[in-house]
Symmetry: C2
């Protein structure tokens, strides 16, 4: 009834050799006579051996250092979220000898990214988790990592050119398509939708462009139901300037009924509208469950937030690297997380579910 877990020792006995020989076969260390090797392999197969990861980890007693390179959480609250996921993953993998060394750069400053990335390389980590919108700089950084031949996983922003890099995050194009669907549900025909890119380095940020393409493709595939107006604005933090800019846009374009803010800064838009006293009868679609957005979603000032689960991105990113370090599983390619449609009525459930079960965290390390 109770079938015992097969150990190396069991294999050794079955194949009538010593533990050492079995060990050599398992790890392909050579120095085993061909017929003995065959015998051992047969025993492994017939008894159904799979290594006990607990014992293996204990015996290995290795320390691994994973370096992370993400924007300063102080610069933009959004980046606190992956940070939480990274922290969770750290707690979970601590017993497996995983250490996490964090490097932060200023999110609007490519030079700071380059500086920090150099510090990171000097620290000689065993793996790297990176999140950046700087396209060229990211590719340069990857070249360096490639030289020292350690695994790299990117989150949040998909740098398509780097095929061999793992990516965990959202499908930006598809999130644009989804935004199109949301406007389609909420608005009548023949109104205009404003696509609003807030922030610098927009043109160096591929994923922002992908979102735009997604929305426009959706519109094309639905008989160009909407007019699309595309606009960029850098100084969004200056509510006065931003407000004047907006009242200018809305006075010229009087048919705007939907607004698509392509990053997590929808709350700046709402605040600027508010300050100018422009009435908000718009359908607003933004991104990310940062606090200021959530408040406005509850109030009904924002209609939809598309969630890319940044907590999970950070968490999964670390776990993917741990997989590679501990189990040499090198299938780290592209993982798109779901695009959650968040409205006032399901918001709280998303916010609460960021605390995974202890055991859920811990087990993520081992399965073969």
């Amino acid at each position: 009834m109770k079938k015992k877990r097969i150990r190396i020792k069991d294999i050794a006995e079955a194949a009538d050799v010593s533990r050492g020989t079995v060990d050599r076969v398992i790890h392909n260390r050579g120095k085993v006579a061909p017929q003995v090797k065959a015998k051992v392999e047969a025993a492994i197969l017939s008894l159904g051996y799979s290594p006990n990861i607990i014992a293996r980890t204990l015996a290995n007693n290795k320390e691994y250092h994973i370096a992370t390179l993400i924007p300063l959480p102080e610069d933009d609250i959004f980046w606190k979220l992956p940070q939480i996921g990274i922290q969770q993953a750290f707690e979970a993998t601590r017993d497996f000898g995983i250490h996490i060394d964090q490097f932060y750069f200023k999110m609007d400053d490519p030079v700071s990214f380059v500086n920090e990335s150099e510090k990171l390389v000097e620290a000689r980590p065993d793996a790297v988790l990176m999140a950046t919108q700087f396209y060229r700089e990211a590719i340069n950084f990857y070249r360096q990592i490639e030289k020292i031949d350690i695994p790299l996983v990117g989150i949040n922003t998909h740098i398509k050119e780097l095929d061999k890099v793992g990516y965990i995050g959202q499908n930006s194009y598809q999130s644009g398509v989804l935004a199109g669907k949301l406007f389609d549900i909420s608005l009548h025909e023949n109104v205009d939708i404003l696509i609003l890119h807030l922030g610098s380095s927009v043109s160096n940020a591929m994923h922002i462009m992908d979102k735009k393409r997604g929305l426009m493709d959706y519109n094309n595939n639905h008989n160009n139901k909407f007019g699309i107006i595309n606009v960029e604005f850098r100084e969004y933090r200056d509510l006065d300037k931003f407000g004047y800019f907006l009242s200018d846009v809305f006075s010229r374009e009087t048919n705007i009924k939907g607004v698509f803010i392509t990053n997590s800064r929808a709350h700046y838009f709402i605040n600027a509208l508010d300050r100018m006293g422009i009435s908000n009868d718009l359908c607003t679609v933004g991104f990310d469950l940062i606090e200021k957005n959530c408040i406005l979603l509850r109030k009904g000032e924002i209609d939809f937030l598309i969630n890319q689960d940044p907590v999970r991105q950070g968490n999964l990113g670390i776990h993917t690297l741990v997989d590679q370090l501990l189990f040499n599983r090198s299938d780290a390619t592209i993982t798109y997380l779901p695009l959650d449609i968040v409205v006032a009525e399901n918001l709280d459930l998303y916010l609460l579910s960021n605390t995974p079960s202890t055991s859920e965290i811990k087990t993520q390390i081992m399965a073969k």
Copy 2:
């Protein structure tokens, strides 16, 4: 720079006692002089000791049996999904000595539930995961489990009376509210919404009633924008009968523009409509990403599916129990998973993300 992980041996040296004494203090086994105990406790605190779960698990070398009691996956495809999550959790926790013994009952047959639950009790498991819609029978079963004093976690259906039982699943009431919101977005005022309960044992199933209440409350809080028509039908599998039933309903109620199917059987509804040649210009809201629903969502026959992530329910359920067995963490209370709004445009991403990273699975076991 490199701070080594503190071991029992380190504490022992710091407090100038033996490993055994430290062990006794940690596990409160007594037989330690008070002043020595204080000294050891001080050392533990100042050095910041936390046990190495890897080593602990290996040394304990215990086997735990978790029994599951869920409806037969063959009876209703929906139940294949928690099954996947349970299986994933099993792979993940196998090395921690966790075994899973599964018991299945016929989902429409309370007697079969009782029979299987008796078999389960005879198997003397160390913990139980249960999913059932049978209210009375569930409470009875719980009484038995209470006697043998092992942890029990329920998934999918929240039996509110059993406070001490862990629950992981959806907030049914809130899912009704959310459905209200979806109709609100999609439909004009003054149309009717049909709430359709398909299947037997509806009145013995609390959570179905909660969904209805949620929708009706939403409507009340929004000036009773919609008319609500509430209907049950048992023989939904018989497409002819079901079709006639529907054409009767729709000929009497000609203002129905929205249909809310309160469980995972929306596809039966669409098929019955189709068979009767009733045109589908309805806004349809259903539950769960089972294959037949997904196909209809893609085709546009179903507008929204609310997802309660049953895979994750099964997965988390097992992990919660493992937490308790391995770490005596008894904070297993109520965990509501997010309510995902799924449309054709984000469906695939939900379907793909059911494969968690290996490491993510494995680590879920340990964090203290």
